[in-house]
Structure formats: structure tokens, C-alpha cells
Amino acid sequence: MGTIEVLFFFLTALTIFSAIMVLVSKNPVHSVLWLIVVFFAISGHYILLNAQFLAIVNLIVYAGAIMVLFLFVIMLMNLNAETEPQKHVWMKLAGAISGGCFLMVLVSLVRQAGDMNGKMAMMKDGNIGLIKNLGKALFSDYVVPFEITSVLFLSAMVGAVVIGKKD
């Protein structure tokens, strides 16, 4: 039980706990905050896996930009626990059960898939996660999708303007 294991299990526990908190907390603001915790935990996982670039990007893009965006919107609508609508308990139960079934099925599949047995995810060493290597790959082999995603952003931008602008 080395430090890595300890960290791993701690982060895992944190991730799952805060993820659950995201959907049980009545107040949307709390959900957002818990989600940010989830993202931090996941970034921790990235670091454990020595994917530093992604860890940073995750923090900046998700925990930073996206979540702040969410937070703004929620503030703007000043949603809080009182205004938060609740589904009927049966619906919740149905949702939980079906989600659970989904999990069970996939887990059972993984256990069926013998070919995953004994495979290890390489921790802390292994340098593909470094910015240098990723950047090389991104601008050589994956330049086309990289460029094309600009179209995505353009359309998103246009969309935000078209939809969001008050006319």
C-alpha cells in the first residue's frame, strides 16, 4: 500500500462522494461547488496518471471557465433550495434503479471481459501526458481535427450570439 494507492483511493472516494453530493444537494449552488470538487479530484487522478497537461486544462477549462459560467447563470437566475423543484419520489426511484441497472450491466461486462485482467494503468511515469509530446502530436498528426474544431467554436459562438442576444 504505497502512497499512490493511498492517494488513488482517497481521490476515488472524494470523487464519488462529491459526485453523489452534486445530485443530492438541494441548492443548485452547492451542486456546482460539489461538481468543482469532483473536477479537482479528477485532476488529481490525472496527475497520478502523469497527464499533467490534461490536469491543468481540466482545472482551467472545467473548474475554471465552465463552472464559473454555470455559477453565473445560477446566480443570475438566483436559484436556491426553495425554488428548486423536486421530482416525484417514484420517478427518482425509477431513475436511480435504471441508472443502477446500467452500472450493474456494464460492470458485469467488464468482469466478463477477461482481456482486462492483469492490465495495469501506468502510474506517474510515462511521458505521453507531457505538454511537449501532446503538442507535437496535436500539431502534426491531429492538426486537421484541431483546425476543424475551430468550426465548432465558430458555430458555438454564433449560436451564443443568436440565442443569447436580447432583441
Binding site: K87, M91, A94, G95, S98, G99, C101, F102, M104, V105, L106, V107, S108, L109, R111, Q112
Partner: protein
């Protein structure tokens, strides 16, 4: 010589076309001249043919191939031989007389209907000739249905009266029932022999199994039942009296109804080889003879009486056919044609005189008003009653003799029938002509003898029915006196060879003749004495006489047993099965689609949550289906 054959049916056809198309333009006299003239012409031709046949035998002449398919051929061919030539003479001869008679009888009709009448009559003669001349069963069938059609048209001639129309339809449908039997027989022949021509059929009889022959003959006889009004298909004939009286005389007494006899006589060989069928024919014929006679006892409509007597006489003819006396049957057809036509025409002239009064209870004492009609009618009665030496005596006697030879029971029942015949005929005679007039005064004022066009045929026919019998004098009186038998011999030779022709001893035959004659005379006197002082009274008949008056309730029985159930079935199909059953199912499918559509719509609840829920569940199900090798238990065991 045989080229002339075509002319025989051609003249009536032309007459039909001219009268039919020109009935609005032509004048009555012209119409009647064309109508009668065409028949006269073909009568002349028939005479020529007759003598031609007498000298140098029968011929078959083909016009063209009516139907020619690779499995069989039906030529449109005419066959003139002894049998058909006799019938030609009867049809055209009597046909002509009746045309003549009609020209006066139908005077009151307005020209177009007058023309229609003669057109129908000519068409009838045409198809009757086709029937007789046809050289195979198919052509015969054409004529067979043709005459049925004409009788339909003529019974319903006065189409304003719906009862007449019903009678006409009844006649046609009942004939159709018979015709189906006829057709099936023809199919059977075609199937087994591949031909329907008389010559080939009779030549190849050996190819037929006895069952085939029995079946074919029975089916043919079913046809005869319909056409010749035998039990159980006879009820149309009395109703057919709805038609004009000359029509009854021509079609429903003299010619058409004897088509059945002609057909069986034509296929005598078949019947001779099917004893079972022969017995059937004999029994049916005898039964019909008696049965119809009993009904005739209590009828009060002059034409109805004659109608039932016709049925009964036809019964005798079938009896003759059944016992193998083909000549006798044909002979009786001939004599019956004479006196029955005479009777009908006489009745016609009476009705004419009485202004369409047909109830004999309202007549009487017409002797002094209608001398010619009276005397001729009397002679006819004697003839039909079978008083020697009138024609009916010889023919009926020949049949009865043959019946006796076959089976005495037939004979005695037959004689009983002839007694009944004598009784109802003279009852009719007495009620009509004897006693004193029972009609209204203005009727009495108008009663008068008919014009010459009507009396002339009466006289001619009277003469014929008096002397007509002498062409068939039995062998016992003189050797080879039975000229008809000798003339027809070639037709029946084969049958005779098979069945054998057994004459009775002279003594026995004399005894029979004498006995029956005496009995008949007694009956006649009884009847005349009983009915010449008849007083008309409205009292309802009771008991058996009522049953007889109501014709044994046969019509009612048919209605309840056959007609109504079929109607009911039709209604059931129309209203229940069709609407609710089949169509209901078809529409039900549509309704089901609409209904399920309404239900499926609810699946689209509009709730995103539900949509996604269903998606997730679907995914789960898919995975389970996909890895269906995982049983649920192992599935859970895998998780923990």
C-alpha cells in the same frame, strides 16, 4: 334434299325478327300473316322432309363448328330422322293452327303488343325446332333453354299483372333446376366420351360403365322433369296458365312440355341400358299421372283443369318411356298434342266468348251459344278419356299394355288414373256446356261463337283427334297396321333388340281394352249426371276435397322447405356475415390501427425525463439481449 333443313328453323326466325323489329310499324293483319305464314312455310318444308325421310332415311347435316376446343368439338348440326320429322310435323302443324287461332284471339291487343306476341311465338317455334333438330345434346340444350325463355316471355306476356310475372319467373327457375341436371349429364358425356353428338354417343356406349349410364340418364331425366313438369318440378305448369290461352295450347300442352319425352325417346338406347333409371322414370311418371289427376278433380278454373290433365297425361308418356314403350310414348305425344291443343283452344274460345271468365262454376249451358266449340270440345273429351276409336284410346292403350307387360301394378294404377281423367274431363264438360247458364246477364247477352280463324283450327284438330289414332292401330286388330311403329322402328331398333318387344296375347289385350272402356263410360255417365244440374254456391269445400282444391299444399310446402330458407340464408349472409363478419374484420383491422395509434401517442409524454429513462432502460435491455449467454444469476454473481 336435306339442304332444306336449314329452312325449317329459318322461317320462324325471320318471322321473329320481322315482327320483333317492325312491331311498331307493321299493321296487325300483316303481322299475323307474317307470323302464321312463316310457320306454314316451315310446315311445308317439314312435310317435304318427312317424305324424304320416309323414303331414304335420316340425315345429319352440319352448318359449322359451334365450339371447337382441343378436348372436344361441338358441331352446329341438324339431324333429320324419323323421330325428329314426326316432331317437326307436330310442332309446325299445330303451331300454324295456333298462330292462326291467335290472330283472332289476340285481336284486342294494341299493335305493338300484338307484334310482340307473334314475335315471341315465332321465336318459340324456332327454338323448339332447334331442340328437335339438334344433332347433339348441346344444340338440343340451346333449344331446350330457348323454349324455356319463350315460355317465360309468353307466360308473362301481360306484364302489367305481377302475379303473371311471378308465374313466369317460377316457370323459368324450375326449368333451370332441370336444366342443371341436363347440363351435368352433358358434361359427363363430354368427360367420358369427348362428344355429345347422338351418333357418336350411341356408338360408343360400350365405353361407359353402367354407373356412368345410370347417372347420365338420371341427370337427363331431371332435366325432363323440369321441362315436362313431372314430380317434383311440376308446379310451374298450372301457374303457367297465366299466359294467353293459345300459348297454353301450343307450349304448355302440345309441344314444349313434350320436349322431355322427345329427349328420352331420342336417347332411348341409354335408358334401355339403365334399367334402374327406367324404373325411376316409370314410377315418377305414374305417380305424376295419378297425383295430377286427383288435383284436377277439384279445380274450378277451366285452364287449371286442363293444365293438371296435361301434367297427368305427360305422366302417362313417361310411364310409357319407363316401361320401354317408346313408340307408345311418342304416339301419345302426338295424339295428346291433337286433343289437348283442341281442348285448350276450345277453352280459349269459351273464355273469349265469356269475356275472360275462367271459372267453370260461373258457366254452363254454353252448348246452344257455341255449337262448334261445343262439339269439338266434346270430341276432344272423348279422345282424352280414351273412348275407342278416338285417338287417345289407341295411344293410351298401347302404353298401358306395355306397362302391364312390364308390371301389372303399373297397369292397374294407370287405369285408375284414366278413370280419374274421364271423370274430371266430363265434369269440366258438363259444368261448361250442359245445364243452364250461370253467368251474369250481360255476359249471356254477349256470348257468341268465335270467328273462323278460331273455329277452323278447332275443326281441323277435332278431325285429327278423332282419326289421329289410326296410324297406330294395335297389332291385334290387324297385322302391320301400326304404321307409326314401323316408321319409327329404325330409331328404337337397338333398344328393341336389347329389351325385346313383348306383345300380350290377343285375348288378354281385348279383355283389358274392354274392361277399361266400360269402366270409363260408366264414370263418364256418372260425372255428367252429377254435374249437369250443378248449382253455383259459395260454400267452402272441406276435408279431402279442400286439400285437393288447394293442390295438396305443394306450393306452400316448397315455400317453407326451400324458398324461405334460401331467402333467410341470403339475408343472413347480407346483413350478418358480410357486414359484421368479413367486412367487419377488414374494418376492424383499420380500427385497431387507429386505436393503437391513439395509445402509442401517449408514449410521447413530452417529459424529457421519461424519454431518457426509456433510452437507458432500452440500453440495458439491449446489452442483456446482446450478451444473452449471461443468465441472470451468473449476472449477479459477476457483480460482487
Amino acid at each position: 334434299m336435306s339442304k332444306l333443313v336449314y329452312l325449317v328453323p329459318l322461317f320462324p326466325l325471320l318471322g321473329f325478327l320481322i315482327n320483333g323489329l317492325g312491331r311498331r310499324s307493321l299493321s296487325k293483319s300483316l303481322i299475323s300473316m307474317i307470323g302464321s305464314g312463316s310457320i306454314l312455310a316451315s310446315f311445308v318444308v317439314s312435310l317435304i322432309l318427312f317424305f324424304d325421310v320416309k323414303t331414304n332415311g335420316g340425315t345429319v347435316s352440319t352448318l359449322f363448328n359451334f365450339i371447337k376446343v382441343d378436348s372436344f368439338t361441338v358441331p352446329f348440326a341438324f339431324q333429320v330422322d324419323q323421330l325428329s320429322s314426326i316432331f317437326l310435323l307436330i310442332i309446325t302443324g299445330i303451331g300454324f293452327l295456333i298462330h292462326l287461332y291467335s290472330s283472332a284471339y289476340m285481336k284486342e291487343e294494341e299493335p305493338q303488343h300484338y307484334g310482340r306476341y307473334f314475335a315471341y311465338l315465332n321465336l318459340f317455334v324456332f327454338s323448339m325446332l332447334l331442340l328437335v333438330l339438334g344433332a347433339n345434346y348441346v344444340i338440343m340444350f340451346i333449344g331446350w333453354e330457348g323454349v324455356g325463355l319463350c315460355s317465360y316471355l309468353l307466360i308473362g306476356f301481360w306484364f302489367k299483372n305481377n302475379n303473371y310475372n311471378y308465374a313466369a319467373r317460377k316457370a323459368f327457375v324450375m326449368n333451370r333446376i332441370g336444366d342443371l341436371g341436363f347440363l351435368l349429364a352433358v358434361f359427363w358425356l363430354l368427360l367420358k366420351l369427348g362428344t355429345a353428338s347422338y351418333g357418336d354417343v350411341f356408338a360408343n356406349l360400350s365405353k361407359l360403365s353402367s354407373f356412368d349410364i345410370t347417372a347420365i340418364t338420371t341427370l337427363l331425366f331431371v332435366g325432363a322433369m323440369g321441362k315436362s313438369a313431372q314430380i317434383p318440378l311440376y308446379t310451374w305448369l298450372p301457374d303457367a296458365m297465366a299466359g294467353p290461352t293459345p300459348v297454353s295450347a301450343l307450349i304448355h300442352a302440345a309441344t314444349m312440355v313434350t320436349a322431355g319425352i322427345y329427349m328420352i325417346a331420342r336417347s332411348n338406347l341409354l335408358y334401355t341400358m339403365a334399367p334402374a333409371t327406367q324404373t325411376l322414370v316409370a314410377v315418377i311418371g305414374l305417380a305424376t299421372a295419378i297425383f295430377a289427376a286427383t288435383i284436377a278433380l277439384k279445380q274450378n278454373d277451366i285452364k287449371k283443369v286442363l293444365a293438371y290433365s296435361t301434367v297427368s297425361q305427360l305422366g302417362y308418356m313417361f310411364l310409357g318411356l319407363g316401361v320401354g314403350a317408346y313408340t307408345g310414348a311418342v304416339f301419345h305425344v302426338m295424339t295428346h298434342a291433337f286433343f289437348k291443343a283442341l281442348l285448350f283452344l276450345g277453352a280459349g274460345s269459351v273464355i273469349h266468348a265469356m269475356h275472360h271468365e275462367q271459372d267453370i262454376r260461373k258457366m254452363g249451358g254454353l252448348k246452344k251459344y257455341l255449337p262448334i266449340t261445343h262439339i269439338t270440345f266434346f270430341l276432344a273429351c272423348l279422345a282424352i278419356a280414351g273412348i275407342p276409336p278416338f285417338s287417345g284410346f289407341f295411344s293410351k292403350d298401347e302404353i298401358l299394355a306395355a306397362a302391364f307387360a312390364k308390371n301389372p301394378v303399373y297397369y292397374f294404377i294407370g287405369v285408375g288414373g284414366s278413370l280419374l281423367t274421364a271423370f274430371y274431363m266430363f265434369r269440366l264438360y258438363a259444368l261448361t256446356f250442359l245445364g243452364k247458364f250461370r253467368g251474369t246477364l250481360e255476359q249471356e247477352h254477349h256470348v257468341h261463337e268465335s270467328p273462323w280463324q278460331m273455329t277452323l283450327p278447332l275443326i281441323i284438330l277435332a278431325v285429327l283427334s278423332v282419326v289421329g289414332g289410326f296410324i297406330g292401330i294395335p297389332e291385334v286388330f290387324a297385322e302391320n297396321a301400326h304404321s307409326l311403329e314401323h316408321f319409327l322402328a329404325p330409331i328404337f331398333a337397338e333398344s328393341v333388340k336389347i329389351a325385346g318387344l313383348h306383345h300380350l296375347e290377343a285375348s288378354q289385350e281385348y279383355l283389358m281394352m274392354g274392361g277399361s272402356t266400360v269402366a270409363i263410360i260408366v264414370v263418364i255417365f256418372f260425372a255428367v249426371k252429377n254435374y249437369q244440374t250443378y248449382q253455383y254456391n259459395e260454400k267452402e269445400n272441406t276435408g279431402l276435397s279442400k286439400v285437393l282444391e288447394r293442390k295438396w299444399y305443394i306450393d306452400e310446402m316448397y315455400d317453407t322447405i326451400i324458398v324461405n330458407p334460401l331467402n333467410g340464408l341470403g339475408g343472413f349472409f347480407k346483413n350478418i356475415v358480410e357486414k359484421s363478419g368479413i367486412d367487419g374484420f377488414v374494418n376492424g383491422v383499420g380500427k385497431m390501427v387507429a386505436y393503437s395509434s391513439r395509445q402509442l401517442r401517449l408514449l410521447q409524454s413530452g417529459q424529457v425525463g421519461n424519454y431518457i429513462l426509456i433510452m437507458v432502460l432500452a440500453i440495458v435491455v439491449f446489452v442483456l439481449v446482446w450478451f444473452n449467454d449471461i443468465s441472470i444469476m451468473r449476472f449477479f454473481s459477476k457483480i460482487f
